[in-house]
């Protein structure tokens, strides 16, 4: 049955359905609704979980690290500065190989306080060892959250379910909320490979000297690769129960496209509209939506893009002194091709600015009309303001 709920609550609902045991939470706009709803479920008994209202995001992650170490299912959510404050513990959770699921609402970082959409926060955490799954809308947020627990527990890696500030988090959409029994069919009880137990004592996450540290890091890497290998199968399981799937990437008309726009998150929805219009006008325009950023499905992306002439990566983030982060990654993936498409990089929609259909069109046209990209990335929709 479909309910009209906001994206944040889609995640909260999924957490409830996933029968999570321990949730920690600390408020930050635009994430707050997620944990508010969960704390309410816990308070009214809808959810049999322990909700820990911690005093910081660093602690939010530490709390679930502690809980997950006892072998229970855990969740927390944050955004922006909260994620930044969590940074140390993000490393800890991944290095500890704990299947924690984190709801992350993409938001810009200050100063210049800004509570609006921007991917810089989550992308800054790309090297922490977390799986990152970006969602386009409320339904995907719901489904991805359920999926995330399954995936995390299979590969012993934490998973970040990422949604856009406001565009997804605060937008009410019809979302199919699955039945508990279906969720239970998809998501079996967690059988931890790691759990603290006084009857079987060991030290966990102790100092790792140079003779083993590297292998342990490599093990995280292997688990990431393993994730790429089994992702499809897990989606099959999901599909079998819920009749939906998203793929690590989604190709929209990529087969026939000369130009493929690479998008993530809710901007994809806008792009879908523009693409349809363009296609009607005879443009050979395709879209590649990247859902799974970590592990980065480079091979699949390469396959999807290799026939195109040009690729336009739309980045709602920026790595200062370099460029859009998705663009960097896509370029890297295409390196294996001897004659791959030319990659254009556009920066748009930072700090909550809208990515309008006009911007998408502009991206398309600018890419179509030029043979080669300019050096570096192009910032779209900015005015030459430089007040100070």
């Amino acid at each position: 049955m479909k309910h009209v709920i906001e994206g944040s609550h889609a995640i909260s609902e999924a957490v409830k359905l996933a029968r999570v045991d321990v949730v920690s939470g600390y408020p930050i706009t635009p994430q707050t609704h997620i944990i508010e709803a969960i704390s309410e479920y816990c308070a009214n008994g809808e959810m049999k979980a322990k909700f820990i209202p911690v005093e910081s995001e660093h602690s939010a992650m530490a709390a679930v690290v502690g809980a997950a170490s006892t072998g229970v299912r855990t969740f927390t959510a944050t955004s922006s500065h909260g994620l930044a404050l969590m940074h140390e513990m993000l490393h800890w959770a991944a290095g500890a190989r704990l299947p924690i699921v984190l709801g992350e609402v993409n938001r810009a970082l200050g100063p210049g306080w800004n509570i609006w959409m921007d991917q810089s926060d989550s992308l800054a955490q790309r090297d922490t060892g977390w799986i990152q799954l970006y969602c386009e809308n409320g339904q995907e947020a719901m489904d991805t959250t359920l999926f995330a627990f399954r995936l995390a527990e299979l590969v012993n890696l934490p998973v970040m379910v990422v949604i856009d500030a406001f565009f997804v988090s605060h937008t009410f959409e019809p979302v199919a909320i699955p039945e508990q029994e279906h969720v239970d069919d998809f998501l079996p009880p967690y059988e931890p490979r790691i759990a603290l137990d006084p009857d079987n004592p060991f030290a966990l996450f102790q100092m790792a000297p140079p003779n083993v540290y590297m292998e342990m890091r490599q093990s995280i890497h292997r688990a990431m690769e393993h994730t790429l290998d089994i992702y499809h199968e897990v989606e099959n399981e999901f599909d079998a129960v819920f009749h939906r799937r998203y793929g690590m990437i989604e190709e929209i008309n990529c087969e026939n496209a000369d130009i493929i726009l690479v998008t993530t998150g809710s901007a994809t929805s806008t792009a879908r509209q523009v693409q349809m219009d363009m296609e009607k006008q005879g443009e050979r325009f395709g879209i590649l939506k990247i859902k799974t950023f970590r592990p980065f499905p480079g091979k699949a992306i390469c396959n999807a893009l290799q026939k195109a002439k040009k690729v336009a990566v739309l980045d709602r983030n920026f790595s200062f002194g370099s460029g859009g982060i998705f663009a960097q990654e896509v370029k890297g993936a295409l390196q294996v091709l001897s004659q791959g498409p030319v990659v254009f990089n556009y920066i748009a929609g930072l700090g909550g600015r809208d990515i309008t259909p006009d911007i998408i069109s502009e991206v398309y046209l600018k890419t179509r009309d030029r043979d080669l990209p300019p050096c570096g990335s192009e910032w779209l929709g900015t005015s030459p303001r430089d007040e100070n």
Binding site: V54, S59, V65, G66, T70, L196, P198, N200, P201, F205
Partner: protein
């Protein structure tokens, strides 16, 4: 002399990585005698993160969860929550942090856990500086002390933070100081803390670091004992933030304590007199709070 009656059942093992004469090791050995097998320890960055053993070894017979430096208390809260969800009520969750991990970087998480009254025991083993990183000052470093970040004439001119009062002010059911030189008292306090399930209990254990304090290793216990005898580290308990009980009364001048340690050797007679003065005042303040004497 009355002999000490201390169990010879140990939950710690030899071969750990502590310096010779490590007070923190003694603290752990004794504490575990009281806590017993059904204990999960959470240890943040600190000397004990090393003492407990680098991979693949562990120097303790109870489970240890290592966590990041600022997070001992809340990681323990998380462990507690996990155990609660598993229906495990017998296990005691103990956060075991250094003074840095309690007074400084760990205070936020500790205060949070205490305010939520999470069902954990938080132990600060206090060696009065960041020892693991090579003797830098912490907010537990006492007035007059030299450390590598308060060197030479820049010796520490500010006082040690009064951590137990901070914890007592949280109204936790049990806050106590303990000292490795008073093993029976220490064990009694850990047992008491273990029994008082259901909320946050805080134990502040004085644990000599002869390496960092510039003292011969064999004086580890002697110096700790003097800290209490000189009233620099009074042994007392606070229940519910209200009921104060003093366990030991000291009457020794602070010189006896200061003079054994290199970290104080630059102090002039006036400096020492000043310390004595402060100690006397502090002790008078404490005595005013006593409900049971």
């Amino acid at each position: 002399m009355q002999t000490l009656n201390i169990s010879d059942v140990d939950f710690a093992e030899p071969g750990n990585m502590s310096c010779p004469g490590c007070g923190a090791s003694i603290a752990m050995n004794l504490a575990l005698k009281a806590l017993g097998q059904d204990t999960i320890l959470v240890i943040p960055a600190c000397c004990w993160a090393i003492i407990a053993g680098p991979y693949p070894m562990s120097s303790l017979k109870v489970p240890i969860l290592h966590t990041a430096f600022p997070s001992a208390a809340v990681t323990a809260s998380g462990v507690r929550a996990g155990l609660d969800m598993k229906g495990d009520t017998k296990t005691t969750v103990v956060a075991w942090a250094g003074d840095g991990g309690s007074f400084d970087i760990g205070i936020q998480s500790l205060s949070g856990a205490a305010e939520r009254n999470d069902d954990i025991i938080f132990v600060c083993y206090d060696n009065e500086a960041y020892m693991n990183t090579g003797v830098q000052r912490s907010s537990s470093t006492p007035y007059g002390s030299r450390t590598t970040t308060t060197p030479g004439q820049g010796w520490k001119k500010t006082r040690k933070k009064n951590m137990i009062e901070i914890m007592a002010a949280h109204g936790v059911s049990y806050a106590a100081t303990a000292n490795i030189a008073y093993p029976e008292d220490l064990i009694r306090k850990f047992k008491k803390a273990r029994e008082l399930k259901g909320g946050t209990r805080f134990i502040h254990v004085y644990a000599t670091c002869t390496t960092g304090w510039g003292a011969p290793s064999e004086y580890a216990v002697k110096i700790a004992r003097l800290a209490t005898r000189c009233n620099l580290f009074p042994l007392y308990e606070v229940e519910d933030g209200i009921t104060y009980t003093l366990n030991e009364k000291g009457d020794t001048p602070v010189d006896a304590y200061l003079n054994l340690q290199g970290r104080f050797k630059h102090l002039s007679l006036e400096d020492k007199a000043g310390i004595q003065n402060q100690v006397d005042k502090d002790f008078a303040v404490l005595k005013n709070k006593l409900s049971v004497c």
